[in-house]
């Protein structure tokens, strides 16, 4: 079957796929511990029987029983050398079952081990493993392929690349989405669709994991961006516990009642996964067979994706910012980081640009003396690990680009392809093979054309060639070619003419903004003015530094003025959340300075020193501030915590503010020989020997100090004799102990005994996750459930 024939086939009506086969074979006697593929190859009659029932039930396409037939998976059974033969045999068996009444799809799925950098399988190892399987299935005569039940977009790409590098048969791909509409590895339906359809999938969709109801939403999300048919192959509901057994409990009628909704959401093909049987497929065929085919949407959006996010670039949508900072040219710190293979810096720059508003990140690895291919791949991986943004791969090296495109788990943009012969010959095929978008740079072997007309000539020429590789306008961003205006002339005007022509002719555009001001002082002004003018001419995206507040302000304002930010909603959202946007009119109302009481109550640690100082300047004594403001405030914080109106971080923030206030008052108290907070008693605090979890104890220490206790904090993993000695030396009223584990809490009675033996008149209070009142009482100690109860407990112990 050719890919065009596949397309035509799906245009005829709703295609019916098969249902679960493995579970049917288990019922036929397939042993649970057997390699399913080997058992089926040795027991063809069982497989043929199940698959014939699916054909009789109305399946248009049968899947071969080769889901676990890749070389890596088969190696678990010692069958790796037989990969090709086994797949060929199983394809032949299913062809036999189909008997010309159904198409046969060679079934490929995950190897069960994650790919690098998450797991142990290298990308190329995965591709090679799938290639062995693909060769066998191809030789067995499959009509098409299906890659199914995929959790990881990268492994899915490996399988699709394996198919595309070996043959030109159609390939359907379905991924498995969890609750929350993401694969377990975090890919959303649209990013999966964009990545896979651009890489050459002929149909995309979802199978397994969820029942039909959940799949309606997945298809609805995909449909507006789908250039290919969509597939839904749900389970018979979600597995549920019924009478102590785990079952799929959706019957065939209930299952098929979703057919109309799935088709309405955009499904072109329907089938069943776990828990379904020929009965389900028969009813599905009867229900869905009468519906007409769903037409793919003729989208003109330029779409790029990462493994976690899709970005739509379009001249009618808000201007896309392509962050320029991941380029070592002119950045010594980045050159040094790349030379030392320090990818932390790369990750940091990526995060900063995303937070500043970049939608796409340009990645350039050009450092003299370094292997660009290796550096680019490492940079891409580092960025993917730190941000979800799609990437623009900025290189003129075909080798570096192919290495990065091969492992990039989404749809990238190549920056750039020009009219130079070598670029068109070497890089256009790469863009086509990996389904990348590209920036069309209108220069050619003669250099940079001066006039807009000449540049438009190059654009037309490159586009004509690109069309022969299957590209259309939405796969291209045309670079307006920005030259500096410092040398005079009409450089900016020519770029604007190119942008205008592109917009009128349906191309999306990009500019490398900062070139325009090269050689001039106060470059930001020129850059900002040019950006606003370019947006007026329809600019779709700009490569710039998103950390520039001025440029980002212009971008947001221009989006509003060109009606690209619907109802100015993004503009309002952004500036409403800013404390100040500059300028008198937009200044928020001046905040009223809090009182010392309010500053502790609201945990305003950054402001309380000024507040306390202001009170002192007014003539209030330190003691008055403590007694009348700070202590009532920290008590109020405690009450709010007890009522659950505050939770733990708020309780602690109050204590931190209190502590800062006391630090501020310290010198005045000494000067005036005044007492600060009246000391309520002395407590020796420790996390017991063998226990290293001390965050809870540290919080108790912080609170006790703020509530007027003298605390001697011995730290964690503290031996019993040191605790007893400290209690003696400091004449402690209380020993406070924490332990998290059952293995360490046994130190506590030991310490209580030692204290009694030493004749210490000391109370013991304890806390920790595994403790309770009963345990504490068993050795005469007192238990508190959290930090604030520890304060209350300490107070009551001293009163009693």
């Amino acid at each position: 079957m050719t890919r065009q024939e596949f397309k035509d086939y799906f245009n005829k009506g709703i295609v019916i796929l098969d249902g679960a086969t493995g579970t049917q074979l288990y019922k036929s006697g397939m042993p649970v511990e057997a390699c399913p593929e080997k058992w089926a190859a040795e027991n063809p009659e069982a497989l043929i029987s199940v698959q014939k029932r699916y054909v009789e039930s109305g399946s248009d396409i049968l899947y071969t029983f080769t889901m676990g037939g890749n070389a890596i998976k088969l190696s678990e059974y010692g069958l790796k050398p037989q990969t090709r033969e086994l797949n060929k045999r199983l394809a032949e068996i299913t062809k036999n079952a189909a008997a010309g009444k159904a198409l046969v799809a060679g079934d490929i799925s995950s190897c069960g081990i994650l790919l690098e950098p998450y797991g142990e399988i290298g990308f190329e190892e995965s591709v090679e493993s799938y290639k062995e399987q693909v060769k066998g299935l191809f030789e067995g005569g499959v009509d098409l392929f299906v890659i199914e039940t995929m959790l990881d977009i990268q492994e899915t790409r490996a399988a699709l690349i394996a198919i595309r590098e070996l043959c030109d048969l159609p390939a359907m791909v379905t991924m498995t989405f969890e609750d929350g509409m993401r694969t377990l590895m975090g890919t959303d339906p649209v990013s999966a669709l964009v990545t896979l359809q651009s890489l050459g999938a002929d149909a995309v969709g979802c199978n397994c994991s969820s029942g039909p109801a959940e799949m309606v939403d997945i298809l609805k999300a995909m449909k507006p961006y789908a250039k290919v048919p969509l597939i839904a192959k749900p389970n018979a509901g979600k597995p549920r516990l019924v009478d102590g057994n785990t079952v799929f409990n959706m019957d065939s009628d209930a299952f098929c009642s979703y057919a109309e909704a799935l088709i309405g959401a955009g499904a072109n093909a329907l089938g069943g996964c776990c828990g379904t049987t020929p009965e389900y497929i028969k009813k599905l065929s009867e229900t869905a067979g009468s519906f007409p085919a769903q037409k793919p949407v003729n989208t003109t959006f330029a779409m790029v994706s990462s493994n976690r996010q899709t970005l739509v670039i379009h001249r009618d949508k808000p201007l896309t910012i392509i962050g320029e900072r991941l380029n070592p040219t002119g950045k010594k710190f980045l050159r040094e980081a790349l030379t030392q293979n320090n990818m932390d810096k790369v990750a940091q720059l990526a995060r900063e640009q995303m937070e500043a508003g970049a939608g796409l990140l340009d990645v350039n690895a050009g450092v003299p003396g370094l292997d660009e291919k290796t550096v680019l791949v490492n940079m891409v991986q580092a960025v993917l690990d730190s941000v979800p943004l799609p990437l623009c791969l900025d290189s003129s090296s075909p080798e570096a680009l192919e290495a990065a495109l091969r492992i990039y788990p989404g749809r990238a943009v190549i920056n750039s392809i020009s009219g130079e012969e070598v670029k068109m010959e070497k890089i256009l095929p790469l863009a086509a093979k990996y389904g990348a978008m590209f920036i069309l740079l209108p220069i050619d072997d003669k250099g940079v054309p001066v006039t807009a007309e000449e540049r438009i000539g190059v654009i037309k020429r490159v586009y004509d060639t690109a069309k022969s590789y299957g590209f259309s306008k939405e796969d291209i961003l045309v670079d307006g070619v920005v030259m500096t205006v410092a040398t005079g002339g009409q450089a900016a005007g020519e770029t604007l003419k190119v942008l205008s022509w592109c917009t009128d002719n349906g191309f999306n555009t990009v500019v490398g903004l900062s070139n325009v001001s090269f050689g001039l002082p106060a470059r930001e002004n020129i850059n900002a003015a040019f950006l606003a003018m370019a947006v007026a001419y329809g600019l779709s995206s700009a490569i710039l530094n998103p950390n520039s507040q001025q440029l980002m302000d212009i971008k947001r304002a221009s989006d509003v003025l060109k009606a690209r930010d619907s109802n100015a909603s993004e503009y309002i959202r952004y500036y409403s959340s800013q404390k100040s946007v500059g300028g008198q009119a937009s200044q928020p109302a001046k905040k009223v300075k809090p009182t010392a009481f309010e500053a502790v109550l609201n945990g305003m640690g950054d402001e309380i020193a000024d507040v306390v100082q202001a009170d002192l300047d007014k003539g209030l004594s330190p003691k008055a501030i403590i007694d009348n403001s700070l202590i009532p405030a920290i008590q109020k914080v405690g009450e709010l915590y007890e009522d659950k109106k505050y939770f733990l971080p708020q309780l602690i923030k109050g204590a931190e503010a209190m502590q800062k206030a006391m630090e501020e008052l310290g010198p005045y108290l000494q000067k005036e020989t005044e007492a600060g907070i009246e000391k309520k008693g002395t407590i020796v605090m420790a996390t017991v020997k063998g226990d290293i979890h001390d965050i809870g104890k540290n919080i108790v220490v912080l609170l006790l100090r703020n509530y007027g206790f003298e605390v001697i904090d011995l730290g964690k993993d503290v031996p019993a004799d040191r605790i007893i000695q400290a209690a003696k030396d400091n004449n402690a009223d209380i020993i406070g102990l924490s332990a998290l584990m059952t293995t360490t809490m046994t130190e506590m009675p030991k310490i209580a005994r030692m204290a009694a033996d030493a004749g210490l008149k000391v109370r013991i209070m304890v806390g920790g996750a595994v403790l309770d009142n009963e345990y504490a009482r068993s050795f005469g100690a007192h238990y508190s459930k959290d930090a604030y109860s520890a304060v209350r407990l300490a107070e009551s112990l001293l009163k009693s």
């Binding site: 579970t23 993401r182 377990l184 597995p239 079952v247 659950k644 971080p649 923030k653 204590a655 290293i692």
Partner: protein, 210 residues
Amino acid sequence: MENIRVLKGIRPSYNKSLILTRLGYKRGVTGFDEDFQRLLDSTIKRAENLCSLALAYRMVGIDENDNGAVRLEDGTVLSGKALSKMLSQSQKAVLMASTAGSHIMEEIRTLMDSGKASEAVIMDAAASEIADAGLDFLMGYIGTFLRRQGKALTKHRFSPGYGDFNIEQQAHFARLLDIKELGISMTDTCMLVPEKSVLAIAGIIEIKTD
């Protein structure tokens, strides 16, 4: 016994509200302002970046399960009545390990030492949640492959230290999962270092299709 599988750098999805729950937040009662919301968001985001999740799992056969004693195929005996009950329908189980790594613990200590205890507790709760989300991820991952074999994982998992499944049995997990490969060590008192590490077991059960 099947090989140990190691996964690194996974960023599992998780429910952020569970971080607040760990910190004592009560919906409809606890309240805070926008500044505090920003502090929460930025601290949780930093925690996500500082967690370098490493996961491991291994399938093990269950040879015997007799009222509180579960004997694994290598002879290891896990003791605990509730564990035994959870595994009563299982011939196999999966052992799992998850750690948020050491960077986040260093940052929590630094925050605590520099008087930013409020940020430290938020980060501590986030790290706990992310380490737990690592186990959720593993259960989802393994469950997907099991489903096509007509099997599933038990709804719940057990970790040493829960109920009568005492903490000392952490040593069995440490050995069977070779946790030092994940950068986890165990103290004499069976505590895991880095602290935001968790070990667990879940059973494999059959799914009935009719």
